[in-house]
Symmetry: D3
Subunit: 188 residues, 6 copies
Amino acid sequence: MRGFYIGRFQPYHDGHHAMVGRIADEVDELVLGIGSADDSHTTHDPFTAGERIMMITKAVKDFDLTTYVVPLEDINRNAVWVSHVESMCPDFDVAYSNNPLVVRLFEESGIEVRQSPMFDRDRLEGSEIRERMIADESWRDRVPDPVVDTIEEINGIKRLQHVSDSDSLDRYTAEDEAVDEPAIGDEG
Amino acid sequence: MRGFYIGRFQPYHDGHHAMVGRIADEVDELVLGIGSADDSHTTHDPFTAGERIMMITKAVKDFDLTTYVVPLEDINRNAVWVSHVESMCPDFDVAYSNNPLVVRLFEESGIEVRQSPMFDRDRLEGSEIRERMIADESWRDRVPDPVVDTIEEINGIKRLQHVSDSDSLDRYTAEDEAVDEPAIGDEG
Amino acid sequence: MRGFYIGRFQPYHDGHHAMVGRIADEVDELVLGIGSADDSHTTHDPFTAGERIMMITKAVKDFDLTTYVVPLEDINRNAVWVSHVESMCPDFDVAYSNNPLVVRLFEESGIEVRQSPMFDRDRLEGSEIRERMIADESWRDRVPDPVVDTIEEINGIKRLQHVSDSDSLDRYTAEDEAVDEPAIGDEG
Amino acid sequence: MRGFYIGRFQPYHDGHHAMVGRIADEVDELVLGIGSADDSHTTHDPFTAGERIMMITKAVKDFDLTTYVVPLEDINRNAVWVSHVESMCPDFDVAYSNNPLVVRLFEESGIEVRQSPMFDRDRLEGSEIRERMIADESWRDRVPDPVVDTIEEINGIKRLQHVSDSDSLDRYTAEDEAVDEPAIGDEG
Amino acid sequence: MRGFYIGRFQPYHDGHHAMVGRIADEVDELVLGIGSADDSHTTHDPFTAGERIMMITKAVKDFDLTTYVVPLEDINRNAVWVSHVESMCPDFDVAYSNNPLVVRLFEESGIEVRQSPMFDRDRLEGSEIRERMIADESWRDRVPDPVVDTIEEINGIKRLQHVSDSDSLDRYTAEDEAVDEPAIGDEG
Amino acid sequence: MRGFYIGRFQPYHDGHHAMVGRIADEVDELVLGIGSADDSHTTHDPFTAGERIMMITKAVKDFDLTTYVVPLEDINRNAVWVSHVESMCPDFDVAYSNNPLVVRLFEESGIEVRQSPMFDRDRLEGSEIRERMIADESWRDRVPDPVVDTIEEINGIKRLQHVSDSDSLDRYTAEDEAVDEPAIGDEG
């Protein structure tokens, strides 16, 4: 049986890893879909799809499981999203997700969805880990070792800190920095 | 004379219907443009274009009016939006709208726009009706009968309640649920 | 040596103009990139790319500098944005920007970036000038003369006031006007 | 029962009309999908979606059938095309098509497809009718009367003759006219 | 060292496989990029990205090599294509390609490209193998075993034969079938 | 009075230059629109928009004319193309074109178009000049001097020869090279 598990994996952390471990007990093969594959270099999505593929591929070698790691570009049309996923991924029998929209879309398409409580959710949350990276607090103990290696290899902490920096001394160019993520060209 | 009236129609309700009734006194034919036709399965836009076409087509049979119901995909470039509408719709002589941007764009293109006060506006508002659907409060008395039929046929209340559900017990997968609409792939 | 300076230029004002003046001391030629070239007719981005090209081209004649004014449509993928800019612009040796994301993206691509404090930043800020235009307060003393000419020629103040107007008497069609910019088709 | 019938309808002609007549015997309601809705002003696709909506809506009044005429923008991804159609159209039970790709895509999605021999196919073919329009030969006897009215109202023959004109005296600007359709900007 | 090898892999065959074998002698890790990932269901591109991911992942297990199989959606802008590839793939040191455009684009971006003669090129060519599939001639001896398994599992020969079928008895719906690939909606 | 003149300018040559000279007698300002701005690195469109901006800006300094050189990305929807051009360009009073489609689209939008015979059309044609570049025949005498400079600075002949090279010794990777332009990922 083949399963499907989707996340943004910014970054892939121990919560995701524990989830994959549990899924591994139920399926023979697993497709890991990387959502928002085309986003990168923002506070919310610092890492590119390629960087996330590397993190995940190396980390999931821990499990006795055939895996497929598939970047999924955003398509911004809920009504065709399931077809988009199905065409980009090897065929799967069951999807794992706790996101209400994802659950709904798969169910309307007749695909079985399994929901599952997350492990240690306050500590293992993407946004919490990214905030720690920005603040130079400890984060290495919350992600698998190959993820640490990848982030260090790509100088990822520096990037995240840089793009999250809205404390520019110069307000003039910063007129639009109140917006969540600085948009390119927002120079006033 | 042919008129044009645009809305998102999420759902088509008695306020829209009263408006069409008044327009029917002024024109022979009416083009009903469905805005954001490519959005669906969100709290703000629960119904697909196809579902909205069905609601509207059945409801406007009440009027002695040739109608054209046209889905309009978002084009996200204000400066070409009027051309987009004109190419997708039968030619029209006058547009009905109270939205300042729509009024401005049509006027800059030399198209006559008529504005008109809305009927019973507090009770008949799309967001109010969708909130009632989510909360299982009464809404059937605020939309034409064929709209009730369509929504029940497609199991629309269930869908809206499902995608609006951000009270997941599991915060882990919910890191991004503070965002207005849950984005696909926002699993943490 | 050729430099690159990007802004949204909504509108091009004395702060931008002073910046170009300083850059003119360091380079022989300057590419002025107009960000969000495809946005217009909103409170945040009232003027079209064509209107901004005209403002800038006429204003920069003040300087002894070969200039290229290049509209840059948004591409919404940070990871390919530098290539997009490079392919649309004459080759440049150094980029001028204070926006952290822009700085980061250029630096990851190996392009030199120079940052520079802005002049009189509280008074010369795009959003402040647009608010003055909306409120019919003085703004002509904050932009170069050719910018005044262009905005008057295109009847730009009227447009900005019109699209920023969310005080419609009719709340019915205004259900979505609480959203930052009214989206087309948001009629309730 | 609701059926679905797709064509480009450039223009809607007596062959299409006979087909709709036969389908009308099998279904209560019919969705007419206008393919390549975003194409116009070429020899292959002279008429806009709006013009085609008008032709078809007026012509199908001949039948005792509830109809929905839906423009379908091209999506250029076969694997999501069925979802695109389903989201834009009222739900249907059976699709009518003789195009092998369309048949295949619907069948892979579990949708019933009915194929049907076309009536008088040599005479009633879109390309043949368009060639007659270009050559000022008779074509009015091959389309329903409302189609003649619409094409005359929009001055459609003139447009088709104009865009099909590659006999420019000036070859210089015509370097790319050997390409099937002249692309915008192909001036040499 | 990490290499990059791109192909459309329609299907992945013994020529590709021999090439991967030779690359395996030169690198430790290999990224296999699947070009035109968003194309499927045509004579030229019958298989979806997901189906091709499965074929390749299973076949390359033959080699002692860490592999990453990455679908690459077409971006249709040569000038940003290298950035697109780099952001979707783990970082690589050398690219393998014989396609002149690919070689040029990588070289202009400063990336090393290695070209290599193909093995048994007349027999092992994608178009030849697809023609054999259409004609029900032998093809299983030209692809790795897991590719046979995948194609049989997805009923791929049937699909390819179906979409390549332009010998419709009914020319009416076939007006546009002279075009290389039947486009959706091309019904006359 | 302001004019508009569009071309792909691959490259900008003496025929274009003579045309601009004649237009300069009729207008005070001229907008030069660069069509297919997003195409580059092909036999048909070798140069990027940025490279073409540089060629043209330097060449038109010959004339006593305020010029605006504006890259125009393809929009692939004829019905909105005029709006696209108008929003990207300073407002113009008259358009110069011999392309029948361009003429038609402007005329349907109520914009005056002037057609003009081209000078020395057999010798001065984009495709002829590009073929000479590929074949290492003389071409420098057919373009203004600044165009020669730009093409040499960017090593443009080498690029054009490289991407036009379909005489690969290895047919295997070349299966799709029979297609006009080699598409990325077409490796068999």
